[in-house]
Symmetry: C2
Subunit: 333 residues, 2 copies
DNA sequence: CTGTTAGCGCATTCAA
DNA sequence: TTGAATGCGCTAACAG
């Protein structure tokens, strides 16, 4: 591999001059520039990013830490972030935190140690306090999908409370009065927020929240199925069910079908996230949109503007969910 | 940020000694080790990965280049690779090639310049020749999902021809004699291979391959739907349809339903990949497994063994698809 | 077992 | 506008 030194020798200039033309950041006469470029070409010179980072303490790469690398949720987000940053000549390093506090911290350290200029985090296991501390450090951070009040200017998030509200309000408008619910795992903030929205919608409609009609799931399909079974066993009548995400709603519908219940005729079911599914599925799941692409784009833009001083599209931090009424919900008979 | 120098001063030892305890690769007396560790702790010392790479020309990170970061295909693969490598203390840098030759080449360069110790590539736009050349370079490479004969020892792939064969054979065993097909985009090797398997199965059963019963799709759901419509318009009867992946099969089934055809009663439909879908979908898609997790794991193990000299599980390079008969295929009446 | 020394490839003063 | 010198933080011989 040719080094900057080889180029300088071949071009008959100093090493510093080569550096100048490579970085294009200082006056270089057209003539010497030509010589240098020719030498670079001839030697197939490619700057060593590692050495460059060490010397300049700037890597032109940003670290992105997500809880998982697969699944319908993070894929589009990563894709969007990569796309925006890459178009700006920046690079992206992804890591997975696996919803484990140790691992999340270790990943943050890894990305910092790799010299990332900024960190985009979509993680859930670490504490708010940790994040607040982290934000005070050298490396700028942005949070996706998490609201931490002391550093709210670093947070890009969906108004989950409002989403939970919309889902339940939709059912109420359809005439449902007994609405069951399968929440997400309540140690997660977004699950609590969605549940809070659910309760607010009930309250505004003058309906009583009945804890016996609300079970806790873990966001997996299976827990949706088990959840609806538990609800059904209680023999407490309900005509609608809100689930804290699409996967649990899928499981719940499967559970209903197994018990001979028809959706939405016997039971209306709401999801949350509005993720894509095969075209021929029936019924199509009513849901609440989760603009994960947009949040990814926004995080990337935030970094571009605040870390790299590139002006660009205006920034938004808070996103509003939108109701997506489809086939799995219907009027209460 | 504390440096190795600060630690050495605080511990009252030389800089080299600190390096030794950090890397744990040479004899250090228990006593000095303790001193050093204490100093490291006190200073919250974290080695600078950049400097370390520069000095050792080894980064303990491997680059993974995939065509996309989202979708059901690459997610699980990336996840698996990250998991295996991470457990071995190695790190992973992902990049997206977007099925564009320029971009794929640029991404390879990026990963090389970042000092990756090895590259795992799941890309399709670059030529075989390019890959052969690349394999001769400094950075070891492994190919996933691509068979390039001159460097076959670097290839981890699914026997797509056999998969295509299994899919069609399944339909033939069910008594179908007129079998239509929606292939993948034929500029892609795996699409061609699956089609070849289809033809072989037909031939072995003494059936004639009818080009008019075979249309080309692009692996997207929409092209499956359009494909089946085109096939149906021809008024050439067929009782079964093989699709080169699950997404197109989904689109095809949706198209059938829209035309009042029932699957599998009126038409049997086969997919390929066997990707997970919501539990309540009907009919469940008969398919051919694509052990993408396994291939990811294998790629990671290859790197561990060949690049980092870590012994581990035995390596396999060629994977056999398995037929997954479910509900979308049935006996020919 | 430990310290000294010389780079890794480059950016960046400071002079010229 | 250009060159010489210094150092980023660390590893890796080489001595001792």
């Amino acid at each position: 591999m040719a080094t900057i030194y080889d180029v300088s020798v071949m071009a008959g200039v100093s090493l510093a001059t080569v550096s100048r033309v490579v970085n294009n950041n200082a006056k270089v006469s057209e003539k010497t520039r030509k010589k240098v470029l020719a030498a670079m070409e001839a030697l197939d010179y490619r700057p060593n990013a590692i050495a460059r980072s060490l010397a300049s303490s700037r890597s032109n790469s940003v670290g992105v830490l997500v809880s998982q690398l697969d699944g319908p949720y993070h894929g589009p987000m990563m894709s969007m972030i990569e796309s925006v940053l890459r178009d700006a000549g920046k690079h992206v390093i992804f890591a997975a935190g696996r919803s484990d506090e140790e691992r999340e911290r270790a990943s943050v350290s890894f990305l910092q140690d790799r010299g990332c200029d900024a960190l985009v985090l979509d993680i859930e296991a670490v504490s708010d306090d940790y994040l607040v501390e982290l934000a005070k450090g050298q490396t700028p951070i942005v949070l996706i999908n998490r609201y931490v009040e002391p550093i709210e200017d670093r947070c890009i998030y969906l108004d989950n409370e409002q989403g939970g509200y919309l889902a339940t309000e939709h059912l109420i408008k359809l005439g449902h009065r007994s609405i069951a619910c399968i929440s997400g795992p309540l140690y997660k903030l977004d699950a609590r927020q969605r549940l809070a929205g659910h309760k607010r919608a009930l309250a505004e409609a003058g309906l009583q929240f009945d804890p016996r009609l609300c079970v806790e799931g873990n966001f997996d399909q299976r827990s949706g199925r088990e959840g609806v079974n538990r609800l059904l066993e209680q023999k407490r009548p309900f005509t609608a069910l809100v689930c804290a995400n699409d996967r649990m709603a899928s499981g719940a519908i499967a559970g209903c079908m197994a018990q001979g219940l028809s959706v939405p005729a016997d039971l209306s079911v709401m999801g949350y996230d509005d993720f894509p599914v095969p075209e021929y599925i029936t019924p199509k799941l009513s849901s609440v949109s989760n603009p994960i692409h947009e949040m990814g784009k926004m995080a990337a833009n935030w970094v571009l503007q605040h870390v790299y001083q590139l002006e660009g599209a205006p920034l938004a931090r808070r996103f509003e969910p939108v109701l997506k009424a489809k086939e799995s919900t219907g009027m209460n008979r």
